[in-house]
């Protein structure tokens, strides 16, 4: 486990923790961006170049900005008076800890059976393109329809209603 892996892991986990713990919502969104960047670095470390750059382009370039816009449009940057954690925070934390315990146990128990270090796969963007048009053309078209539906849906959900039809 190399030093690079530990550094990226520290960055990502710190970003994730900060985004869930900080009081100011915009700070949480910016910490989330750090977590996304850490994950993109993980993808690059795993020789998945296309996925890493797509992660930066889509998540940092679009989703993070969307989250920030939503925070500003809903006045989320004012600190709430009742505190930032809900009344049932202990139950939520317990559930999350239980999930992590189960997952960690499963991983550590099956660790001997997992494959070891394998040589890096040489994947070019051309292969990804061929796969998208060849083997995965149906998911591609369905995702296109889904994105169109999401675009139209988000606009309709978020727009003001017309005065007469309230």
């Amino acid at each position: 486990m190399s030093l690079v892996f530990y550094l990226i892991a520290a960055l990502t986990v710190a970003g994730g923790l900060a985004s869930m713990v900080l009081k100011n919502t915009v700070h949480c969104a910016l910490a989330l961006t750090v977590a996304f960047a850490g994950l993109a670095l993980f993808f690059l470390n795993l020789d998945a170049q296309f996925a890493g750059f797509a992660q930066i382009l889509v998540y940092i370039g679009a989703v993070a900005i969307l989250v920030v816009f939503a925070i500003l449009l809903t006045k989320g940057s004012e600190t709430p008076k009742d505190g930032v954690f809900s009344r049932t925070w202990l139950a939520g934390l317990a559930v999350a800890a239980a999930v992590f315990a189960v997952l960690g146990w499963a991983i550590l128990h099956t660790a001997p059976m997992l494959p070891g270090a394998t040589p890096a796969p040489a994947v070019t963007v051309e292969q990804i393109g061929q796969a998208l048009i060849g083997r995965y053309v149906l998911p591609l078209e369905i995702v296109a329809v889904l994105l169109t539906a999401a675009l139209i849906g988000a606009v309709i959900v978020a727009m003001h209603e017309k005065e007469g039809t309230k």
Binding site: Q49, I56, L57, I60, G61, I65, V125
Partner: protein, 391 residues
């Protein structure tokens, strides 16, 4: 001799690296290249600042700076000294960490774009297989830095400027991507070195640059419009228009941080012009086949400075567009033209060589442009404006 002059920087780097042990040579080579980029482009920034102030002055029928050196040539040095020695004022209620990090993030992401631009034959820092995607990923991160700057200042003018800038950058990012996809389709690769190689051929002395094809010219025009909007240059500079918004998202920055914003904006302009020359103007290839003896990096930087000059020219000539006009323009006019251009590029590819494909592709593009323009001009909305989707 000519080949040596063309490869002079590559040979210089190999010579410098040869002083080190073999284990360190790879990393040292990359570091030397990166240091060269970090030194050359701020120097070009100084030249561009002088060119802008003198050029704008001349276009506006005044002299521009002429006191500091002969023809004001030492003005950038004076500007640099001024911005380094000014007091760094941070507003009391500003969010200090985010306020500090915003210009840093902007400059870092602006410089990262240069890593994949081929500045000459064999002169690219990293030859990534998905180079164009890397470039756009770095461009997308710039928007976040702009937002951070505007929000952290706790100033309504800054926030307004930042929101406008981010909305504009997101809209024109789509246009930028789609006009580049036409080039990627024809060259068959996302790697910028391969795109330049695909343009490096000559027929009867004329080069095969993509701008000399109908779909390439349309794509280049749309890329140029999107590039001016991405870098917030006039006529799309409402986010930083002094008469509207004080200074937009960099209102509350002074001294060195303001100089960093200025540097970041110009470096982004250089890198987007560099990408434009790589995609459409043939990168480092010479315009005519009898001029290939001139070193390739001279061609790249000349085309880059020509694009910068066109940016400055547009700033001095065109009036500013209003925010809703430019968003309207992006989504309702340029984006459909971009999609049509993709189809025209496909028609060009599959029609085979000859004069017929020139005629068909040009006809489709000109008819579409004329048709859409006529239908937009016919709608004259007179009455109070209403925004249903943007409250």
């Amino acid at each position: 001799m000519i080949r040596n002059l063309d490869q002079i920087f590559v040979l210089l780097q190999h010579w410098l690296v040869s002083f080190l042990a073999a284990a360190w040579q790879g990393a040292a080579g990359v570091l030397i290249n990166a240091a060269a980029i970090v030194c050359v482009f701020p120097a070009l920034f100084a030249v561009a600042v002088w060119l802008e102030r003198k050029g704008l002055g001349r276009m506006q029928n005044r002299l521009g700076p002429n006191r500091v050196g002969p023809y004001g040539l030492l003005q950038p040095i004076a500007d640099g000294i001024k911005s380094l020695t000014k007091e760094d004022i941070v507003p009391l209620s500003a969010d200090t960490v985010v306020h500090f990090l915003a210009p840093v993030l902007l400059v870092v992401t602006a410089f990262m774009g240069f890593a994949v631009l081929p500045m000459g034959r064999n002169m690219v820092l990293v030859d990534l297989d998905a180079g164009l995607l890397f470039y756009f990923a770095m461009g997308a991160s710039t928007e976040l830095a702009v937002f951070m700057a505007g929000w952290s200042s706790r100033n309504k003018y800054s926030l307004l400027g930042a929101m406008r800038a981010v909305a504009q950058m997101i809209s024109y990012e789509v246009v930028l991507l789609l006009s580049s996809v036409a080039v990627v389709m024809m060259a068959g690769s996302l790697s910028l070195t391969k795109i330049v190689e695909a343009q490096n051929h000559y027929t009867w002395g004329f080069p095969h640059w993509y701008i000399f094809t109908p779909w390439g010219l349309a794509a280049f025009v749309m890329y140029a419009i999107a590039a001016t909007a991405e870098t917030n240059r006039s006529p799309f500079d409402l986010p930083e228009g002094e008469s509207e918004l004080v200074a937009g998202y960099h209102t509350e920055y002074s001294g060195f941080k303001f100089a960093l914003f200025f540097l970041g904006e110009y470096v982004a302009m250089f890198s987007i012009s560099g990408l434009g020359t790589t995609l459409f103007l043939g990168g480092w290839s010479a315009p005519f086949s009898f001029l290939t003896w001139v070193p390739s990096w001279i061609w790249f930087f000349s085309k880059l400075m020509l694009s910068i000059f066109v940016f400055i020219w547009m700033r001095g000539t065109l009036p500013r567009l209003r925010q809703d006009q430019l968003m309207n323009f992006a989504w309702k006019f340029v984006l459909p033209m971009c999609l049509l251009n993709l189809m025209v590029a496909a028609v060009w590819r599959f029609m085979g060589d000859g004069w017929l494909r020139w005629f068909v592709c040009s006809a489709i593009l000109i008819l579409a442009y004329a048709g859409m323009g006529w239908s937009e001009l016919r709608k004259k909305h007179i009455g109070p404006r209403s925004y249903r989707y943007a409250e």
